[in-house]
C-alpha cells in the first residue's frame, strides 16, 4: 500500500524542461487546449480515424516542445490506461454484428472489435492529454486555471485539499501498515483482512479530526468562506495562439469528416 502509493506519487509533478514554451503557457490555455483535444477525440467515431491520428500528432508536438520524453509519458499513462481499457475489453465478446471470429469457446464480432478500437484510441488520447497537462503544469497552477475558468469554487477547494493532504494521508497509511507488519501481521486469506478494516476506520477518524483542526487553523487566520488569490493570471499572445492552433488543427478535420 505505502510502497505502491509512494511510487505513484513520484509520477506526479513537472516533467520535461520546466522552462519550455509549453511549460510557460498560462494554465487556462493548456486546460482549454487539451480539453478541446480530448472532446474532439471522444466525439469521433472510428470511421473518422484520421482525426485520431491528428490528435496524436498534436500531442506528440506538444510533448516534443515541452521536452517530455516518451518514457516519462508512458510511465504516467501506464498508471491509468489499463483501468480505462478494462471497461472496453468485454465489448468485442458481447456486441454482435459484422463478421464473427471463433476463439475456442468465445466468439468475437467485427462491430465489437471496432468499438473496442475506438474506445482504446479515445482512452489513450484522453489519458495522454491529462498526463501531458500534469507534466507541464504544476498542480497549484492547474487549480488556479480551473478557478479562473469559473469551475465551481467548492470543487476547486476540494481538489486543492486533496492534493495537499494526499501526501500526509499516504504517509499515515504507510506508518500504520508498518505498525501492523512489525507485529507479525501476514495476511494469508480473506478473513485476515480484518485488521485492514480497522486501519481504514482509524484513517477515516484521523482524517476527519484533521479536517476539523485545519478548519480551525483557517478560521484563526481570518477565513470567511472564500479562498483569496495572490497571483492573478494573465493571458499572453502565445496562450491565445496555442489554443487557436490546437483547435484549428483538429476541429475543421472533425467537422468536415462528419459532413463528408
Amino acid at each position: 500500500m505505502g510502497g505502491l502509493c509512494n511510487h505513484s506519487l513520484a509520477l506526479t509533478g513537472i516533467a520535461g524542461d520546466p522552462g519550455s514554451r509549453v511549460h510557460r503557457l498560462d494554465p487556462r490555455a493548456k486546460l482549454v487546449g487539451l480539453l478541446g483535444l480530448t472532446v474532439v477525440a471522444v466525439s469521433t467515431p472510428l470511421a473518422l480515424w484520421p482525426v485520431f491520428v491528428a490528435c496524436a500528432a498534436v500531442l506528440a508536438a506538444y510533448a516534443a516542445v515541452a521536452r517530455v520524453r516518451p518514457g516519462d509519458l508512458w510511465r504516467r499513462v501506464r498508471v491509468v490506461l489499463p483501468l480505462v481499457l478494462l471497461v472496453g475489453l468485454f465489448v468485442p465478446f458481447v456486441r454482435s454484428g459484422g463478421r464473427a471470429y471463433d476463439l475456442g469457446p468465445l466468439t468475437v464480432h467485427a462491430t465489437g472489435l471496432g468499438i473496442f478500437a475506438a474506445v482504446a484510441a479515445k482512452a489513450a488520447l484522453g489519458t495522454s492529454s491529462a498526463a501531458l497537462l500534469a507534466a507541464t503544469t504544476s498542480f497549484p497552477d492547474v487549480l488556479r486555471g480551473l478557478e479562473a475558468l469559473r469551475v465551481p469554487r467548492l470543487l476547486v477547494l476540494i481538489a486543492a485539499f486533496m492534493y495537499r493532504y494526499l501526501f500526509v494521508i499516504v504517509g499515515e497509511a504507510g506508518r500504520m501498515r508498518w505498525a501492523l507488519l512489525s507485529r507479525g501481521y501476514h495476511p494469508r486469506h480473506a478473513l485476515h483482512a480484518r485488521p485492514m478494516g480497522r486501519v481504514a476506520t482509524a484513517m477515516f477518524l484521523r482524517t476527519y479530526s484533521r479536517g476539523e483542526r485545519v478548519y480551525l487553523a483557517m478560521l484563526a487566520r481570518g477565513y470567511r468562506g472564500a479562498m483569496p488569490q495572490l497571483v492573478p493570471l494573465s493571458l499572453a499572445r502565445a496562450d491565445v495562439a496555442f489554443v487557436a492552433a490546437v483547435l484549428l488543427a483538429l476541429v475543421p478535420l472533425r467537422v468536415l469528416g462528419a459532413a463528408a
Binding site: F161, R164, V168, L219
Partner: protein, 258 residues
Amino acid sequence: MSCAIHARGLTYRYPGGREALRGIDLHVGHGERVALLGPNGAGKTTFMLHLNGLITGQGGLEVAGLEVGRDTVHALRARVGLVFQDPDDQLFMPTVAEDVAFGPLNLDLDGDAVRERVAEALGAVRMRHVADRAPYQLSMGERRRVAIATVLAMHPALLVLDEPSANLDPRARRELLDVLAGIDRTMLVTTHDLPLAAELCERTLILAGGRIVADGATDDVLADEDLLAAHDLELPAGFDLERVQRRARPAGEPISPR
C-alpha cells in the same frame, strides 16, 4: 491597551459536560514572553483557542485590546497569531508562499502589500528560499518555521504558540529558538520543553485541572522541584537552571502596540 491578555474568571465546559477551564484569572502585559506549562489535558490548548475566539467560554476575556465576542472575532484574528502544534494542520495551501499569503489576503490587503508581507514574514523565519515549494517537501523544522511565518504575515500584536519544539531534532529546535528570540512580539508559548521556557520566557504559568496553579518568574517556578513534580513536570536530568542564558530581545524599537 494596557494588557495583551486580560482574563477574569474564564470558564469553559466541553459539549460533553467536561469542565476544561475552571476560572482563569490572568493578566499578560504588552511585550511579555510567557511560558504556559502543564500536564496533558490541563486545558492549555483550550485556553489558546479562546484567545482567538475559536471557542468561547463564560467570564471575561479581553485580548489585544478587544473584548472577545462574536462582533470582534475578525479583528481579533488579525491581532492574535495562533500557531498550531501540527504544522500540517496549519499549512493547507499548495505552496508555502500561498499559505503565508492566506492571512494577509483575508485582511483585504492589496497584492503588492501581500507580497511584501510574505517576503518579510518568510525572511523573519529564514525561509524565503522555500516560498515556491509545497509544504510536504519541507522537513518538520522547516514546516514549523513556515507555520510561524503564516501568522507573522498578519502582523499580530500577540503570538500564541502550541508546543513549538515538539518533534524537532536538536538542531531544528535550536534554529526555532533563534527565530523565536528574534521576534519582537508579546508571546504566549505552551510547552513541555522546560529548557525552552527557561531560555525564552521571563515569566511562567502552570495550568493544571483547568486552573492556574503557579504564576511567577520562570527562574523561580522552574527551581521549585516540588511544584513541578506535583504537576507532572520535570526538568531534564542534570539540567542546570543557573547556567541558562535568557535570550536577549531583538535590538531596535521597543514593542509598539498596533
